[in-house]
Symmetry: C2
Subunit: 325 residues, 2 copies
């Protein structure tokens, strides 16, 4: 049976009104009471009725989008697609770029959660932001694990990692290096790394992953990429974390006298339209941006209507076959 | 002497309250009255006191950004920079992508102008949208001429056109074609065309401009670019309207057997960070995106405080010297 607000009140040993006030962040509440109510909610797996909550909150018809930066082609394309989908359903979007700035992300959340938006779609990379756990707001994540209650829309990162690694092996490379985000970052993109390492091992090849934080500058990234060639002059191919990094790696390789694809292979990730137009020769894994946006908006709608949702929505990827690998 | 609200009332033969109601879009007003008040405002060059208007309107601390699409690298980078600047000043941004869709732009304006934002920064490409003329809201345009009362922030399009054309001539090209938006589009980017045509003529070369609407699909653009080579097999160089178009032209040229830069030169426009990372070899004109964003936010602030502003702010461009031209 679905737990009710009164079950939470009973377990937390508070009144129903107090639970309601916690959910709607109204009036003075001690941290102890707030913690007790949330503990009871978690124990009972209680999901506040968003429709009921909306009675307290005036609807804004605004949806917040929090992403690292729209200056990156993948997020630019994704935000564009999200805005189009949301607009069709009568929503306008409020956008925050939180790259490099967890304080800004927390501040955005703090302000948005209070009253400014009806829902949130998030794909940021910052860690340790507690506001999500107590956010009494419909939220959908894209490519990011935030907490057990927030559904995730993602592309098939495991299959993407497999496809990329297999392609490089097929093209004859043995010394293949992968770049990926920090391992402690809670993101499904980690599965690309798992797939890469598994595929390498299945072919009796030794995997080697370099950590490259998405949030650092192009200059700092280039230094890491130069180090790859210094520390591993035997490297024949790189499976990069994204297309912009793949381009930077290609530039570093060419400066060091490597010719692509003659004696060095590069495969990217994301495969946005603009990158395919600018660098049609870059072999890459295409994320289904339009479908991801559509799915995220659909799931957010279900959350807003208090309908059941899945925990994870995994959408298929495709290889874009260029000449770089 | 600065005209006052009562001067407008006198000239329009209505009460001061009516002028105020027109300015604040409150209560029932006949179109005839509205038109008469705006005609009087125009005749007297009266600028409504934004501070006074804010007394009627609850502040939202939201700024609307209307651009064609954040999926394009230039607008992605610009919107990212605008959001960062606005956030620092306590504003959040509401974003609309209106590419290809004048109805959506008009609808956005209609909704935003009423109550949702405190100001607007606009860089869209749609034409004939009358909402801007009667918008009683602080507005700044980027790279777009909307009406005489809306200040424009832009980069030095004339100098950019000169720099690009001179570069191609220096590199030995004589048959140089330029692509630019529709000539009836009210945008400062037209000055690039004027500069290109003037520079060509100064060198006794024949200018030839192809019209390529920014809003059409990549496929439709490629068809136009193929036509350039069919209709003008003598073409040695193209000065493209933007970097994405430059990349498409390069692809078309290479498919037709032209080698860049050996027997065909291409120069782009915009020079965003991401394009310089993806295609460092593309010679292009760099727009000062960060400074344009900063200037636009500054001017919007002045408008919101009812301080005087210039009509036009022109910021310097630079050549990014790649190998494509």
């Amino acid at each position: 049976m679905t737990p009710k607000l009164e079950d939470v009140a009973k377990l937390a040993k508070v009144s129903k009104t107090t639970v309601s006030r916690v959910l709607n962040k109204r009036g003075y509440l001690s941290q102890k009471t707030i913690d007790r109510v949330y503990a009871a909610m978690r124990e009972l797996n209680y999901h506040p009725n968003v429709v009921a909550r909306q009675l307290y909150k005036s609807q804004t018809n605004l949806i917040g989008l929090l992403f690292p930066t729209v200056a990156n082609p993948f997020f630019g394309e994704l935000v564009d697609a999200l805005e189009k989908n949301l607009y069709r359903q009568g929503f306008k979007v409020l956008i925050g770029n939180s790259m490099n700035d967890p304080k800004k992300e927390a501040a955005y959340l703090d302000q948005l959660l209070i009253k400014q938006v009806d829902g949130l779609i998030v794909g940021t990379h910052n860690q340790g932001i507690k506001e999500y756990d107590t956010a009494n707001l419909p939220i959908v994540a894209i490519d990011r694990i935030m907490n057990a209650d927030i559904p995730i829309v993602e592309s098939d990162n495991y299959r993407g990692g497999e496809l990329a690694t297999e392609r490089l092996i097929q093209r004859g490379a043995k010394h293949i290096i992968h770049t990926n985000g920090p391992i402690d970052l809670e993101t499904p993109a980690r599965r690309r790394r798992v797939a890469y390492e598994g595929t390498m091992q299945a072919h009796n090849l030794e995997p080697l992953t370099y950590t490259v934080d998405f949030n650092i500058s192009a200059k700092a990234k280039k230094e890491i990429f130069e180090k790859i060639f210094q520390e591993h002059p035997e490297v024949e191919a790189v499976f990069a974390a994204n297309d912009v990094d793949a381009a930077l790696i290609m530039n570093v390789a060419q400066k060091l006298g490597r010719q692509v694809p003659k004696d060095f292979l590069v495969i990217g990730y994301d495969g946005t339209q603009v990158v395919r137009e600018l660098m049609p020769n870059l072999t890459t894994i295409m994320q289904p941006t339009a479908q991801m946006a559509e799915q995220a908006v659909k799931v957010l709608g279900q959350r807003m209507n208090n309908e059941p949702t899945e925990t994870e929505y995994i959408l298929p990827v495709k290889l874009w076959s260029g000449t770089s690998a």
